[in-house]
């Protein structure tokens, strides 16, 4: 099930399955299996480090996959998607610290706040052509970052939200328990990915692909391009905010870096690593980047150089992400096998 970008590698595309039902059941099955495997991990490996790693993968994976809904599916290259990651983390953290509501309430309220902010920013941005869209989303990211820095009384400025985030237990789930936090993060990741997969495969998802390929033609078959772009911009923001909330829970706080433009940059980086033509590409990219980050920082202080070389290898050497490469390789082999 590859989603090939306009113009490139189209000849290797395998016949897609259009049947609705098998697809849906298969997605549910994959999601369930993934969740069970993740939930069993703590029993097989006692390592807290591994669980921490998976929690971070959940946070960044949701963020990067939601960015791919914009970049890969709709052709909207946002350089400000990280602002919603930051908003999620700060919104959730502040709500828990200041109001003391139950965690699910804060979760929904943060999504609601993100919805409103994304709607306003999206309404301004999605009308703009490619490069301007990229710049203006970046500008909004900077705006939100500097607001967080300067609104010290609320956000703690460059110190971030300190003092920890209270986690009153709810429904028998105690997020101050590391294992509970781990399972909750995995559940959010799997549910989030499943929902995004449904969006990508829905008629609306195909509307997005049409807009990416040829927005003019899309408008001449009756599609309101602006509205479709705004819809996916807002939806993607909600998943990014969910990633931010996982991060806030994980570090028990929120820091200005969560809303800094480098988060958006990392999102793009992850998408380039994993590839934007498959749904799970960004997830693979997330795992790759976090492993790289962790190992390289341990080995050398010049980790920036190493990461730069790796991305140059993917961008110039492979000219695609890892998952794109793998999928094309399989498609080619299958092509040789049958013909």
């Amino acid at each position: 099930m590859t989603e090939l970008q306009a113009g490139q590698g189209a000849q290797t595309m395998a016949p897609p399955r259009i049947d609705a039902r098998p697809q849906r059941y298969r997605d549910v099955l994959v999601a369930l299996v993934a969740f069970v495997v993740l939930a069993l991990l703590p029993m097989m490996f006692g390592s807290k480090q591994l669980l921490d790693f998976v929690i971070r993968c959940a946070a960044y994976g949701l963020f990067a996959t939601s960015l791919n809904l914009l970049v890969g599916y709709t052709g909207l290259i946002s350089f400000g998607h990280g602002m919603f990651f930051g908003l999620g983390a700060y919104g959730f953290g502040l709500m828990m610290q200041k109001t003391g509501v139950a965690i699910p309430v804060a979760f929904v309220a943060t999504l609601a706040m993100t919805f409103v902010v994304a709607l306003v920013i999206g309404a301004i941005c999605v009308r703009l052509k490619e490069i301007y869209f990229a710049f203006v989303t970046l500008a909004f990211q900077m705006l939100i970052h500097s607001t967080i820095l300067s609104w010290q009384s609320l956000t703690g400025g460059d110190q971030g939200l300190r003092g920890g985030i209270p986690r009153p237990p709810f429904l028998g789930i105690d997020l101050s328990n590391h294992l509970h936090l781990y399972i909750t993060s995995c559940a959010l990741l799997v549910i989030g990915l499943y929902l995004m997969r449904q969006i990508a495969q829905s008629p609306f998802g195909y509307t997005l692909r049409m807009i990416r390929d040829n927005a003019t033609r899309a408008s001449f078959i009756g599609i309101d391009v602006w509205r479709a772009k705004l819809t996916i911009f807002v939806l993607a923001a909600l998943f990014a905010a969910t990633g931010g909330m996982i991060m806030a829970l994980f570090v028990s706080g929120a820091y200005p870096e969560f809303a800094y433009w480098t988060i958006s940059g990392e999102g793009i980086f992850i998408n380039m690593l994993g590839g934007v033509t498959t749904f799970l590409g960004p997830m693979v990219g997330t795992v790759l980047l976090l492993i790289l980050n962790d190992t390289v920082t341990r080995l050398t202080e010049y980790h920036g150089i190493v990461l730069g070389i790796v991305i140059l290898f993917f961008a110039i050497g492979l000219r695609k992400g890892l998952m794109d490469f793998v999928v094309e390789w399989f498609a080619q082999r299958r092509g040789e096998g049958s013909g």
């Binding site: 970008q5 113009g7 259009i18 829905s202 008629p203 609306f204 692909r209």
Partner: protein, 252 residues
């Protein structure tokens, strides 16, 4: 019934469409001809909302389309295909059709399933069969031949079940034989679908052979309208357009 009333559009000082009034009866097949720069494409762009008219009305069954955006005009039932095939390169033929019908059915809000309705598939299937693309359903649009891409473009317009179909040079960039195949297809579609078809065409042989109605545009104005015989013998047409270039042979 598509009625054009005093439609005008200027670019700077150039009147690309100058006070054009035309009626297209339901179920008619009309060819629009005229030398390069006669304003044929502008005329289409005005009707479909790609350009906003300076003045005039575009009445589809009495509803004015002038000034509306393309998506709205499409939903009122005016579909179009483009001079350069305008398709979705990375989607397959079948995905293209399903996606177009899905968007038309306003199923965008249904996020949880993939083209679930039998009706969606039937419409997509029907359009592919009409255009002879059913056997290429799993081909990616970018890999189709030029002619098939043009057919896919037309299929995209047709799958929306328009009342009026505007075809901007369906035979552009084709060899002689392919042209005839395409134009036979257009005529077949017109006969089967019983819709109003308006097409732009350069080849006089084709126009005179298949179009019951012809509109001649020149410098943005209507030079003549009528049956092939009437156009063939129209003095103004012969002088201004047909007689002045290599199409003369086709007229004689």
């Amino acid at each position: 019934m598509l009625e054009i009333r005093a439609l005008s559009k200027s670019f700077g000082g150039v009147k690309a469409t100058d006070n054009v009034s035309l009626d297209f009866a339901d179920g008619s097949l009309t060819a629009v001809i005229g030398p390069n720069g006669a304003g044929k494409s502008t005329f289409f762009n005005l009707i479909t909302g790609a350009l906003r008219p300076d003045a005039g009305q575009i009445l589809l069954n009495g509803v004015d389309m002038a000034g509306k955006a393309p998506p709205e005009i499409v939903r009122h039932g005016i579909g179009r295909a483009f001079q350069v095939a305008s398709i979705f390169p990375s989607l397959t033929v079948e995905e293209t059709m399903l996606a177009a019908v899905g968007a038309d059915q306003r199923r965008a809000a249904v996020m949880h399933r993939r083209f679930p309705l039998a009706e969606t598939r039937d419409r997509a299937q029907h359009a592919m069969e009409l255009l002879g693309l059913a056997s290429k359903r799993n081909r990616t649009a970018a890999t189709l031949s030029h002619g098939d891409q043009k057919l896919l473009d037309i299929a995209l317009a047709l799958v929306l079940e328009p009342k009026v179909l505007l075809l901007d040079e369906p035979t552009a960039g084709m060899g002689t034989e392919e042209r005839w195949r395409m134009i036979d297809k257009v005529r077949e579609l017109w006969e089967k679908q019983k819709i109003t078809v308006v097409f732009i065409e350069h080849d006089m042989d084709i126009v005179f052979k298949i179009a019951p109605e012809i509109v001649v545009l020149c410098y943005g104005r209507i030079l003549a309208t009528g049956t092939p015989d009437a156009i063939r013998s129209n003095e103004a047409v012969i002088e201004a357009y047909l007689g002045s270039d290599d199409h003369a042979g086709a007229v004689a």
